[in-house]
Structure formats: C-alpha cells, structure tokens
C-alpha cells in the first residue's frame, strides 16, 4: 500500500508541475524515480523510447509503464490516474471560471518566463540520459545522425527509433 501511495504522490506531482508537455515531464519523472530509487536510468531510457514509439501522450505511456514495473497492475492504474488528475481538476476549473479568473496578460507574462525553464529542463533530461545512453563512439555517431535526420528531414520519430534499433542490433551483435 505504501508503494502505491508513493506512486500516486510522485505522479500527481509530475502532472501538477508538468508544464510544456511530455518532453519537459521527462526531467520531473526522472527526479521522482531517482529520489525514490525505483528504477535504473537505463531502464528508464528504454521506457521513454517505448513511450515514444507507441500511440498516445508520452506522459500516460510512461506513467502506465513505470507504474507497472514498480507495482504491477495496481501500480499502473495508480500512476496513470495520478498523472491525469491535476489536468482534470485544473482544466475543469479553467473551463468553468475561465472568463472571470484568467487574465491573458498575466498568463502571457508567466509563460514568457516559464518557457526558457522548460527548455532548460529538456536540455537537462537530454544531458542526464546521455550519461547512460552514450557509452562509446558509435552511440555518439547514432546521436549525431538521428539529430541530423529529425532536424533536417523532419522524418517521423518512430522511423528514427526503428532505424537506430536495427543499426544497434547489427553493430553490437556482429
């Protein structure tokens, strides 16, 4: 029961402070996983990869997966509900009181200073993951090649992940 409650609290926090979408959340998820000692970094990166390749928002995919890894089906259910709950409450409030409460100028001002922080968190996520993901020169080549492909050709991320998986299998197996 303790671990389920811990999962709920962690993922509620992730949902509550998850500004800027799935990628910005990676940093939050990682902090929670590390603080609780729930999972190795490598496993976490693998889950993020799977979360990107399967349909749906990265936040749900990773919450369900991590919840399952830590506490089976009840864990998956708990983490998923917890990560959605802040959105559900806050957006309903927004939809009801939107006209009277929100001041677009204030929202703009907050987002103006929040966006650089979101970018910083994404850079941080990339940096900490790379400590485990970049193990040799060849993985550095895959990183550069993937970045070039997505930046210059706008190829869909799924194709890039599939391609690098095939390259990894061929290179590291033979």
């Amino acid at each position: 029961m303790d671990i389920l409650w811990g999962l709920f609290l962690s993922f509620f926090k992730i949902g509550l402070f998850g500004y800027g979408g799935g990628y910005a959340m990676i940093s939050l998820i990682q902090t929670e996983l590390m603080n609780n000692g729930w999972m190795s970094k490598e496993k976490f990166v693998d889950i993020i990869a799977i979360a990107q390749m399967t349909p749906g928002p990265i936040a749900v995919n990773s919450a369900t997966f991590i919840g399952y890894e830590i506490a089976s089906f009840p864990g998956a259910l708990m983490a998923t509900i917890a990560v959605i709950l802040p959105s559900f409450i806050l957006v309903n409030i927004l939809a009801i009181y939107m006209k009277s409460v929100t001041n677009p100028l204030m929202t703009n001002s907050i987002l103006h200073y929040l966006r650089p922080v979101i970018i910083a968190l994404i850079i941080n996520a990339a940096f900490t993951i790379s400590l485990d993901a970049i193990s040799d020169y060849f993985s550095l080549i895959i990183l550069g090649f993937s970045l070039f492909l997505i930046w210059k050709t706008k190829i869909h991320p799924i194709i890039i992940i599939t391609l690098s998986g095939i390259i990894g299998m061929v290179f590291y197996s033979f």
Binding site: F17, I50, P57, S146, F171
Partner: protein
Amino acid sequence: MNSKEKLKLLKLFGCFFKIGLFTFGGGFAMIPLMEKELVNKHHWVKKRDFINSIALTQSVPGAIAFNLAVYFGHDVMGIVGSLVSVIAVALPSVLIILGIAMFFSTFSEIEIVQNIFKGIRPAVVALIIYAAINIATHLKWDVAMIVILIAATLVSILFSINPILLIMVSFAIGTIVFLYNKYYKKKKSDCNSCKN
C-alpha cells in the same frame, strides 16, 4: 440522462479514443486530428474557439493531450463529458503499454533486444535535444529569457535541483513582472493625468 445525451457521450468517447489511438509522439501531434474530429466532423467546437483553447490550456500544467481532452469534453458535455473524454484519450495508451510491459522484463533479458536498445538510447537523446531546439526556434527571445535559460540549465545540471523548484521560481518571476508592469503603468498614467 436521456438517450440523446447518452449517444452524444458515446460519440465523445469514440472520438477521443480514436485521437488517443492514432497519434504518435505526444500532445502537439494530436492537434490536427483533434481539429478534424471536433471542428469539421462533429461541429462541437468552432474553429476560432479551437485555436484559442489550445493557447489557453497551455497555461495549465499537464500533458497537452489531457488538457485538451478535458477542456473540449467539458465544452461539449460538462464535467461528465470531460471525464469521458480524458478516459477515452488515455485508454488506448494504457492498454497497449500494459500489453508491452507484461512481456518487457522477459524480452529485455535477450541479448539481441539489449543490443537494439543500445542503438535506440542515443536516438532518444537526439529526439529530446530536438524537442528543446523545436521550442527554442519558435520563441521570440529577449535578454531576460536567455539569462533564465542559461541560469536554469546550469543550476539544474550542476546542482541537480528539483525541476519543481525551478518551475515555481520562474512562475513567481512572471507574476511579479506582470504585477510590477501593471502597477508601474497605472502610476505613470496617473501622473500623466495630473499633469494635464
């Protein structure tokens, strides 16, 4: 609830289930399909409201996909509508991920699978870096934003400060600047009026 409302709720569920099932790569990728379903097909939301709502829901934390599902669900059928929509948009992911997660531990022991993931991990780093670049290139940068970016990046990497703290600090800065501008401009306009 009459049968007409039940039917509408069922349609809402089907609509968001489809959106959850067919979008890969997170919230922003959902927007075109959502527009097609909600605006063009079902006529539940007006095009102008749709565009405004996307900006509005980003002022609230949480995954973009949930925020939009809750918001439009509420628009169409109140709180019940928002509950049905958010469950529907999450359900395909949950089912697919559970299917994968059940076999993941067994699969990840196999050497070939481990090698596949060795190749995938650097690509994930590339995708995350690109997400940062993508947001950065769509912003109008000023000095304050650049200072915040550099400071937040250094602080979070060097001192591994909890991201929540960084978000709260920038939230506070944005609020203070807004209040300062409001107060300052008000004071200024008062002075103008007393001169006249």
